[in-house]
Amino acid sequence: MIIIDCPHCGPRNSTEFRHAGEAGHKRPVATTDPAEWRYYLYVHDNPMGWTRETWFHGSGCRKFFSAERNTVTNEFRWIAPFGQGPAHTEESGA
């Protein structure tokens, strides 16, 4: 069980949240070619270690927020309202 400290609601059980994907995984422009679309759809960084990502508090405030999490230990380095995290840190892949 991991506890996630929602920036709007405070610490809650992880079952209330939904992982909404890697941060910075931007949709390409609509006129792009199929290969780039498929790359966007299918290919992921899948990092082992610190990563920036977006979570969604589905059973709480129903807001998206940003976080940096270690995928090996499930430890959160920081959690902030969407798009408001600290600037780029060296160890993070984002």
Binding site: S14, T15, H19, L41, V43, D45, N46, M48
Partner: protein, 432 residues
């Protein structure tokens, strides 16, 4: 490729040939108390190998075994950063089946079941393959339709698989609650008689022993730190125990596959999720088949020791953590008691997690990559153990001949760029 030519087997003279196991041998050693010889040998790392396989799980070991057995390529190193069979190969729930959804998947996994059937004799190692039947329960009309679809695809490929009604399910497994007054009544099931369970450690050890016997070297606690390339070709591997020159690297690293592919700059369509499992205390044998319920997110089988082995869906967020969670056991207990109310007082002994490298279409990624000499056998998600022997056989053929075998041609990495996905999610045990 002159892979078959060099064979430098550096066995220590004291280790000798591993004993052929037999009933007479067990009796003889029971009387004489003579020690069994080691089943495989420890080696020093050589400077160069024809083939380096990363990952000493069932896929890596089977690939090494079939490289030596079918193609005579024995100058092979199997590297593992931890111990043999310590990843998904030792953490799965050991269910074997071939009742998949796509024709490509059915043909592939059926070859695996055939190889598993002959594996104990082939390896001279008791892998305890018990084909006790596999039931995928349906609790609603949508599931019944998917079961009928799978049954028809299976029959077309010559697989013993059919849809049966709730009454027949109750006859096969009397302890299942097939009454109509439950929250999720059982409407029927996809019945697959050749499905069953196996002793996964024995498969790993059997392949390791067989491969070692033919001259393959298994290096445990040897982590790959980087892979060297020159002009788009693999030239060597840096490990925690030194440098190896090689022109062929096979990645069979399952949950850690992205970290290995990143070393050569090949991006993989993978997300690693933990998958948890649990086992109860042993009780008298009462469960004659493997039971799967997609709607209730649970599967259960009883081992030969009498323990019930449970699995469920993958954890809902990507992670490389192999810790268990309370949510998992709570959900598991709730769901399994819906199916088999009589086990309410059984105690869980332990729980664990393994890592699953999930692909977008739930089919594996096998074959060549844009980097010459770097081939992959990854993307197994929750299906890895079922495919151990056949992926070893086909990857060995691919490495030895330089051509993609017909059986795995649908599973290439470029299918994602071309949009030729092989959608196998409908055959997942539970809705992951």
């Amino acid at each position: 490729m002159a892979l078959g030519s060099s064979s430098a087997s550096a066995k220590k003279p004291t280790s000798g040939r591993p004993a052929r196991y037999s009933a007479f041998d067990i009796f003889k050693r029971g009387v004489t108390h003579e020690d069994w010889p080691r089943t495989f040998t420890q080696h020093d790392l050589k400077k160069s190998y024809d083939v380096v396989i990363i990952g000493a799980g069932v896929h890596g070991l089977a690939c090494a075994y079939y490289l030596a057995k079918n193609h005579g390529i024995t100058n092979v190193a199997v590297l593992d950063k931890a111990y043999m069979g310590g990843g998904g190969s030792g953490r799965n729930t050991a269910i074997i089946r071939s009742n998949y959804l796509t024709p490509e998947g059915v043909r592939f996994y059926d070859r695996s079941v055939k190889l598993y059937e002959g594996l104990a004799a082939d390896l001279n190692y008791n892998v305890m393959f018990s084909q006790r039947g596999h039931l995928t329960l349906a609790h609603n009309d949508a599931s019944m339709r998917t079961m009928a679809w799978r049954a028809e695809v299976n029959k077309l490929q010559g697989i013993n698989s059919s849809v049966i009604d709730a009454e027949e399910v109750g006859k096969i497994v009397p302890y299942l609650d097939v009454s109509k007054n439950t929250r999720y009544p059982i409407l029927g099931a996809l019945y697959h008689p050749p499905g069953g369970i196996i002793r996964h450690d024995a498969v790993n050890w059997g392949y390791a022993r067989g491969a070692d016997h033919m001259g393959v070297e298994i290096h445990q606690q040897t982590e790959v730190l980087s892979i060297e390339t020159k002009e788009g070709k693999v030239t060597g591997v840096n490990t925690s125990r030194g440098h190896i020159s090689t022109n062929m690297v096979v990645s069979a690293t399952a949950g850690w596959a992205s970290t290995i592919s990143d070393m050569v700059g090949v991006k993989m369509p993978l997300i690693t999720h933990p998958l948890q499992a649990a086992v109860t205390e042993p009780v008298k044998v009462f469960l004659p088949a493997v039971i799967v319920s997609g709607s209730l997110h649970v599967y259960v089988s009883q081992t030969d020791r009498g323990e019930l082995v449970f699995g469920a869906s993958v954890d809902p967020y990507p992670s490389y953590s192999m810790r268990g969670s309370l949510e998992f056991t709570e959900g598991l207990a709730t769901h399994i008691l819906e199916l088999i109310p009589s086990i309410g007082s059984l105690k869980l002994l332990r729980q664990w997690a393994g890592l699953c490298d999930m692909t977008p279409d739930y089919s594996p990624i096998m074959g060549f990559t844009p980097v010459e000499g770097f081939v992959v056998d990854v993307g197994w998600g929750t299906y890895g153990y079922k495919a151990g022997p056949v992926s070893g056989e086909t990857m060995a053929q691919l490495v030895a001949t330089g051509k993609t075998p017909e059986l795995i041609s649908a599973f290439s990495l470029d299918r994602f760029a071309d949009g030729r996905l092989v959608g196998e999610k409908g055959a997942a045990s539970v809705g992951h």
